[in-house]
Amino acid sequence: MTARTNNPLAQEPRYELISQVLRKNILNGVLPKGLVLLEGPIAVLMQTSRMPVQAALRLLADEELVHRFDGRGYLVGAVGAAPLRRDIGEFHLDIPQQVDDALQTRGTWKHFYDEVEEQVASCQVFGEFRIVETELAAYLGVSRTVVRDVLSRLQERGLIHKDNSSHWVAGPLTARTLREKFELRAIIEPAALRLAAPFIQYGQIEEMRDRIGADPSLKPEDLENALMEHCIARAKNTSLVEMIQNNQMLLTSVNRALTGLGLPEDAIALDQYRTLFDLIARHPIDSAAEYLRDHLHIMAAKNLARMKIVAVISEAVDFPPYLIVQ
């Protein structure tokens, strides 16, 4: 999804590029001790949104190049310096050409689409949200035109729609949506698995199977990804694979959001993946496809149960400012 350029730095995350610039200018003394670093002005200077600036500052704080103080932003240097409030633009930062180019090539919607998609997908368990275009533009630090590109992509993927008064709306994610998405999964994923049989990376699947139980860091999500990458996505039917990926996307984001809220991981799912990977590795593919279908029915029931739990969590969770609960 990232734009192709010849600049190797264009593939680096933006926060990494921004932290490089700031680090360099702190170490070479361009940015003086005690200078108050604020997200907004840095974002303007780097022509980027605030989110990667936040991440870059956190990174530098971990390295103790900057620190938090009793006010907004961070102070350059170790604790103790008096706050110095000046516009960062005055300091003529040394920005390496390659980094500058890399930041410039990141001016299109594709660069922050994933972040927005994650936020828009995961809010939906909490009900219906209106997306305010101007707020989204301010939040990302981009123009309305770019925001419209983002929104139309979200619409294409079925994550948002327009209501009667032409406002962009996300959600609510209902049990019905969830049930339908799992029903669709149970129809198309076993079919894709059959088509993929000759192209499956069997070695990888066996390796994954052996890690279940032995590697405590392994999560159901990792196994789901492995199933997608090494098996299903290898079916020689791009329309089918794309359909599967689109259908899963909302489910994956929601799942991640729920786990983030503290819902426990599903230990039983690990056992089911072990059986499934074992069936895939040992052929014939039909038995694995049948098992996958049953597994998805069970996952549907589990996910419906998880959805009920969400009801006890109020809307007071932090949402980005462009999402307004209806």
Binding site: T174, A175, R176, P264, I268, L304, I309, V312
Partner: protein, 411 residues
Amino acid sequence: MAQSDATTADLAAPPQIKRRRLRVRGTSITLLKEVRERAQADLGFDVEYELLEFVDCQRMAALEPEAYDIYEQCFHNLDIVWFWGALQPIDTDRIQDWDKITDLSKTGGISKYAWRGHGDAPVRKLYVQPGGFLGPKQGRYISMLPTVHNMDSFGFDTRVFGKGDPRAPSWAWLLDRRAKGRIALVDEPAIGLFDAALAAEAAGELQFTDVSNMTIAEIDALMALLDDRRRQGYFCATWRNANEAAELVLQDRVSVQSMWSPVYSNMGKMAETFVEAAPIEGYRAWHGGASLSRHLQGAQLDLGYEYLNWWLDGYAGAVMARQGYYMSAPDRTKSALAPEEWAYWYEGASAARDLLGPSGGVVVKAGARRAGGSYQDRANRIAVWNTVMEEYNYAARAWARFVRRVNEVQK
């Protein structure tokens, strides 16, 4: 402490024996002083109660399983707490009176032919099934030990709806024009929503394919109806606990409202005026119980089982009966009640004398009869159980918005 000079130190300080204690998190349904004191005396360890309102209770039970040992709540909210992984299965082999628990709790109806009611009958959440699910297929392990239960309805003002009305009370009264401005609902989305749904259906306003598992369109229609009546000024309040419900009656602010059984014993001079309905459409039932927190093990787990077994032993069931609740092991309860108490509360007979409530005050006057008759009669007429339905997340948020608006008007 160093071993060599232990002698003097040991003599100087009395031995510090840490009292064993069991922490119970629950609601006002079962967390009564009388129960706790007797449990402590019988069991020989401290029992600490933490009393919370319904929705807070389930949220905190789900999020902080380490903060309690026993969770006393209703079966319908197991969907939240069980699936969060906060509880552990109960081994029925360690419950001595398991075989004395009635069929209403264990198989779903008081007899083979009794109508089970829509929704979360306790049996549908009782047994731990393969894969960690809960279901009705019997097995050794259960999610919650069934204890108290009841069939709820609503209360009404006889000055408005008449005393000897030959037409039996209907849930439709909760949306009745005669009570406009004097209607209150219980604010718990798995309970109050069903009072409202039964009312909407009884009034002929809406029809649900399955009232206990509404579709999004059905929930929207119900909430639109409630909101329309709210705008017309039908509702004066919502309430969250028995005290709030009693206050509304005592202040003469309601002509009809959702009710819980203990409230009827707490209405002073309004007792003759505001009475319990036995609705023609049947009851909204609920079933409570006690569960073991996930973290319990070893000696602490043993205390948990002792407490669970004690609950079935009779005394707790008698206290519950005196506030109008039935017990899952009624034979034991019978032996702990006076014959006149048993006759009134369980058999639907008229009270042979004044009957006392859990804390000693008169709650039933001699000659009174329980609305709806005997346990058998009432249990046979369950229309719907309190339920956390599939679209609960959606419904609970819509319900919360409705409640907020009702109460905004009041402020």
